[in-house]
Amino acid sequence: MTTYTLRVNGREHAVDTDPDTPLLYVLRNELGLNGAKFGCGLGQCGACTVTLGGESAMSCLVPVSVVGARAVGTVEGLGTAQAPGVLQQAFIAEQAAQCGYCIAGMMMRAHSLLAKNPAPTDAEIRKHMMTNLCRCGTHMRILRAVRRAADAMKGTKA
């Protein structure tokens, strides 16, 4: 067991765990942040996507020991049920969730894109979101939701 200090959604947490524990398990089991989901555990589906130093990362593949001082972002950091963030509002407006299991990962993946590229083309959105899978098949709605969020963010800045 080793003690790690993690910065998650702007707050610092001290965690005692083994170095090879996946960040996903730490978020869910130690910190009670259940937004990121366990899908395949093999980096194949993207349900566990969080941001790590601003880049999206599949947290099932991130041993906690490699996180270091990099900021971790989860869907809980985007807003709350009472006050959903822009991305969350867009996903609601497009009704992009069916069972919803993949959606937290989808939002975090989209979040890292929009943080770097506030005006992505549809092709850029599609390419960026390629790594995340939805078994219900709402990909087209998800793409529309990301488009809507990008347009909404543009509106707030203009």
Binding site: D20, L42, G43, L52, M58, S65, V66
Partner: protein, 437 residues
């Protein structure tokens, strides 16, 4: 006393100067004759082709892997624009769709043939040898004709050429004429009478069309293929390109069948999964005639089989071991091992049985046995992603997950405890140079 001698010098000068001028003019004329190529008149209209020729052209172009450089966006095939960094500057591939203004719509078959055989554009300017005309020069005319028919019947796309960014003095294209004197051997393909038809077909396809040696053979300082070191291994786009002869780094011997499967699918279970530049090669070869791909495998395997037998890597049912306590580089090896256990082993080793079992067992992966870690670093950083909408092998990219230090430690650990090979020398530099995807 000094006067007469000055007189003599001045007389001599008056004779030398004109001689030098004449020599200079002759040299300039000779250089101009070497460098200047005429334009070929634009053709009034794109000719018509029969369906069989066009289809054959598609298969020829697939073996020629034209799309690997000339297609960037799959929705705009052959529109060019792919950036290629070379030691002489950055070049961009051009539009080879039949658009008259920005593509090759005005090119007659004669102009197309000249470009492939001599590296000269229709308007007479010399093409840079990033375009492998030093290979295509050996093509049979009916293969060139079939490719011409194929490209001339693609949708015409408006895509003007990007501005190249060459290092001085290579922006002056006529200089390529001197490269051509050294490296362009304009000879028709000669089969080797001591070999069978399959091998000869493979030789023609590999050397003249698929231009395997363009990457798998090292280049000279002047950027020409170093023919004396045929298939000794080279580099492409920052990746190490493995040797395909006695110097092959593979710990297990390649069979012809493994090689043929690898060329068709990008996967050879005990050797490698195609990534980087080889991935786009495989994407092209998938559209080729399977018999042609088999012939390439036969030819290349005739060199690859010369690799000496090596001790097979031991089976590792429990994954790769933890670093030894006495390891001279223990801190780094521990970090590498941690990354390996947390990020790699679940698919590649201990967890293989629970997955599709398709991930390579790392102690067999050729990339760990390469003379430098560049390909391993790229695979870790970039992962392997199929082209949009295509089925293919997938590996997540770790570029956003692992820092430079962690990536370097992982490479060093895998080299020592995965391959058991002498440590790579410049891992940190290679990690830094590889950049982020």
């Amino acid at each position: 006393m000094p006067r007469p001698s000055r007189q003599r010098t001045s007389n001599k000068r008056s004779r030398i100067l004109p001689a030098l001028l004449i020599l200079l003019i002759v040299l300039v004329l000779a250089a101009w004759a070497i460098m200047w190529r005429p334009a070929i008149d634009p053709q009034p209209a794109v000719p018509r082709f029969d369906a069989a020729t066009i289809e054959r052209g598609q298969r020829v172009a697939a073996v020629g892997t034209c799309a690997a450089c000339h297609t960037v966006d799959p929705a705009r095939p052959f529109a060019g624009g792919r950036k290629l960094d070379t030691p002489f500057g950055t070049v961009y591939s051009t539009n080879i769709t039949p658009d008259v203004r920005t593509g090759i719509g005005a090119w007659s078959e004669a102009a197309f043939t000249r470009a492939l055989r001599e590296g000269v554009s229709r308007d007479g300017h010399l093409l840079y040898p990033a375009f492998p005309y030093d290979h295509y020069t050996h093509l049979a005319q009916d293969d060139i004709r079939a490719m011409y028919a194929y490209f001339m019947t693609r949708p015409a796309l408006d895509a003007p050429a990007h501005q190249n960014d060459m290092t001085f003095p290579f922006g002056f294209r006529p200089l390529v004429a001197f490269w051509n004197i050294l490296y362009l051997k304009r000879e028709p393909w000669q089969p080797d009478p001591t070999r069978n038809a399959e091998w000869n077909r493979g030789a023609y396809l590999s050397e003249a069309l698929a231009h395997c040696t363009a990457c798998h053979t090292p280049r000279t300082k002047l950027g020409g293929t170093d023919v004396k070191r045929h298939l000794d291994g080279g580099e492409a786009e920052g990746w190490y390109v493995p040797a395909l002869n006695a110097k092959s780094p593979s710990p297990l011997p390649w069979t012809r069948e493994h090689l043929a499967a690898y060329l068709r699918t990008g996967i050879a279970p005990d050797h490698a999964a195609a990534g980087g530049p080889m991935q786009s090669t495989v994407e092209n070869l998938r559209l080729a005639d399977p018999r042609d791909v088999d012939a390439i495998a036969t030819y290349i395997h005739s060199y690859l089989r010369q690799a000496p037998a090596r001790a097979a890597p031991p089976p590792r049912p429990d994954g790769l071991p933890a670093p030894r306590e006495g390891d001279a580089d223990l801190a780094r090896m521990r970090l590498g091992h941690e990354v390996y256990v947390g990020a790699c082993a679940r698919c590649h080793d201990v967890g293989r049985a629970e997955t599709s079992g398709a991930a390579l067992q790392l102690q067999k992966a050729v990339a760990l046995y390469d003379p430098d870690p560049r390909s391993l670093i790229h695979i870790v950083r970039d992962g392997i992603a199929p082209p949009d909408g295509e089925p293919a092998r997938w590996m997540p990219a770790f570029g956003a997950i692992l820092s430079d230090e962690q990536t370097a430690a992982l490479a060093a650990y895998l080299r020592r405890y995965g391959a058991g090979q002498p440590q790579w020398e410049h891992i940190d530099d290679d990690v830094r140079k590889a950049g982020k995807p």
